[in-house]
């Protein structure tokens, strides 16, 4: 990918972060820390890697994106709006009484939301089912599941990891937003998932590791489809929770919090708004 295209993706990521900031500021709060860690991953997928059509959300040949860490839906919503799946009335109503979009993604609430998520540890198995269906139908769609590192505490995730390699679901890619923080503390201090690369490799996955805020690395890793191997792909994207705003980065408090006016101003400036 050339530097011009990388620059475009970086600019989109900044716009998405500003959009998320605006929405969180206007509402009783949102999961801003995780939304900022996953922003670049989702931008790379929607603006570079995935086959999709915002004007035809149910296009039969599209690639699928399941946001398994559903609490970070503000990043997904913002990207779906920015890319044309729905207009601004959806996002502006986020978590308001009678609103169109809630605090976790719900299938059917808006075009482009592929699955209802929010309870962690569900998305991978759903992705496995979609991938299996496409294998049965001999279709080439790719299925992406974006997960959190804390989410990997869930036992169901490891059931799904075994299933995907057992069934040779090489049309399935998981991206782990590895921000290394859960709600209250570091993942390593709660229920460590390390050594993650070794664990995923031993579970039969094609494992790649990238800087989750580097669009060049993300795009190269996500776009190289291992069609010659039977293994599903796992991309460990090392990220920073709260990425882009100095007082939020790696601070557990910003897992879910409302912004004060002065905090909003500082964040707005740091993001280049």
């Amino acid at each position: 990918m050339n530097s011009t295209n990388i620059g475009k993706l970086e600019k989109i990521s900044l716009e998405i972060r500003l959009k998320i900031l605006d929405i969180v500021y206007k509402t009783p709060g949102g999961h801003i820390g995780g939304s900022y860690s996953v922003t670049d991953i989702l931008v790379a997928l929607y603006y570079n890697t995935m086959k999709h059509d915002p004007k035809n959300a149910d296009w039969i040949d599209r690639d699928y994106l399941i946001l398994s860490k559903g609490h970070c839906c503000l990043a997904l919503y913002s990207i779906l709006e920015a890319s044309g799946y729905f207009d601004e009335t959806f996002l502006q109503s986020y978590c308001h009484d009678g609103g169109l979009l809630g605090g976790h993604p719900k299938k059917g609430d808006a075009p482009g939301i592929e699955a209802t998520t929010g309870s962690l540890g569900h998305g991978l198995s759903i992705g496995c089912g979609i991938a299996l269906a496409h294998k049965i139908k001999e279709k080439s769609n790719r299925i992406f599941v974006v997960m959190g590192d804390g989410e990997m505490n869930e036992g169901s995730v490891w059931e799904g990891l075994m299933f995907a390699s057992q069934q040779k679901l090489n049309n399935l890619t998981i991206v782990i937003d590895n921000n290394k923080l859960e709600s209250l503390d570091l993942t390593n201090n709660i229920l460590s998932i390390e050594p993650l690369e070794d664990r995923l490799t031993s579970f039969g996955w094609d494992v790649r590791r990238v800087d989750g805020h580097n669009h060049d690395e993300l795009c190269k890793s996500l776009s190289s489809y291992a069609s010659t191997t039977d293994k599903p792909i796992a991309v460990i994207a090392d990220t920073i929770k709260g990425k882009g705003v100095s007082f939020m980065e790696n601070v557990p408090m910003w897992h879910h919090r409302k912004l004060k006016p002065e905090e909003y101003q500082i964040a707005f400036q740091e993001l280049g708004g």
């Binding site: 299938k107 198995s125 759903i126 496995c128 089912g129 299996l132 049965i136 059931e159």
Partner: protein
């Protein structure tokens, strides 16, 4: 019941390519024919029920019709939240076929007994709950569940159940509606599942003294409430019989109808009491231990009426 299920499964799979069978490493040799005929539509997903339900949801989201089969506690209790979120909130067409309803896994003990499943599944929005009483009704309810647009829980026994419905009762059977096996003015028995056998025998015992009616319910949800309420107005005593906890099953469903109506009728709920079964033995032994064999049922009803007179 298991064999009847297997037969209808193969029959539908031959006509509908979207049917996919997922099993949780349960059903030794039961599905060999299905697997041999449809190798790309049979998946033993292993002892990983939470993943199995998620996979079923993903299949259903892409136009397949998954049938999920394993022992009831592992199916609906281990993976309850996956059923709630992935299947019910998303309202997807998957059929959960649970084997071992009630006490049918008798000697395997309380880990394998399924006596809370109807209460649990009945509480979920969008979930359809079907309770066939014999192999013939397994075939009918499975076809009905397969054509349903949302999730279905189909409760089987274990195997070896005999046919209970006669040609006439099958002829009168309407999907989703109550099935009146016998009319009567004194006592109305209501039951679901294979415990119909013991209930019918109890009715036979009591028939010399009382005019007993008998209704079989194969669709606990949606429930044919209007027809039930119409029947309740004409009797003095209702007796529900279920191979399930007395909390949350057929008896509770009937009580909910009565409580929300102006009908003045007494209800006796016969089921498994709110205890952990500690006895060890075959199903008949356990039923007797819970006073749910036909003689005990008849005795309990008779005693209630005699005490009421006194």
């Amino acid at each position: 019941m298991r064999n009847a299920f297997n037969d209808v499964l193969i029959d539908i799979a031959r006509k509908d390519e979207s049917l996919v069978l997922l099993v949780g490493d349960i059903g030794f040799r039961v599905f060999d024919d299905f697997r041999d005929e449809f190798p790309d539509r049979f998946y033993n997903v292993g002892i990983a029920e939470a993943n199995m339900i998620g996979v079923a949801a993903g299949l259903a989201m892409t136009g397949m019709k998954p049938v999920v089969y394993t022992i009831i506690p592992f199916l609906v209790m281990r993976a309850f939240e996956q059923i709630r979120v992935d299947l019910c909130i998303q309202d997807l067409p998957a059929i959960l076929v649970g084997v071992g309803g009630g006490l049918s896994y008798d000697t395997l003990g309380p880990t394998h007994h399924a006596i809370e499943d109807l209460a649990i599944m009945r509480s979920l929005p969008n979930m359809q709950v079907l309770t066939p009483c014999d192999p013939q009704e397994v075939v009918m309810t499975f076809r009905e569940g397969f054509s349903h647009k949302g999730p279905t829980f189909l409760r089987l026994g274990k195997g070896g159940e005999e046919n209970l419905l006669t040609k006439n009762t099958i002829k009168d059977r309407v999907p989703g509606k109550i099935n009146t096996i016998k009319t009567g003015r004194d006592i109305l028995f209501i039951c679901c599942g294979p415990i119909l056998k013991e209930t019918q025998e109890a009715v036979d015992i009591l028939s010399s003294d009382y005019d007993c009616g008998l209704i079989n319910i194969h669709s606990l949800k949606p429930l044919d409430t209007q027809s039930l309420a119409d029947n309740f107005r004409n009797v003095n005593l209702i007796v529900t019989v279920e191979e399930h906890s007395i909390i949350g099953g057929v008896g509770s469903a009937v009580a909910e109808i009565i409580a929300q109506s102006t009908i003045n009728v007494q209800l006796l709920m016969i089921g498994i009491p709110d205890i952990v079964t500690k006895q060890i033995g075959k199903r008949d032994y356990l039923l007797k231990g819970h006073n749910m064999d036909s003689k005990s049922i008849a005795k309990r009803v008779h005693s209630l009426i005699v005490n009421r007179r006194n």
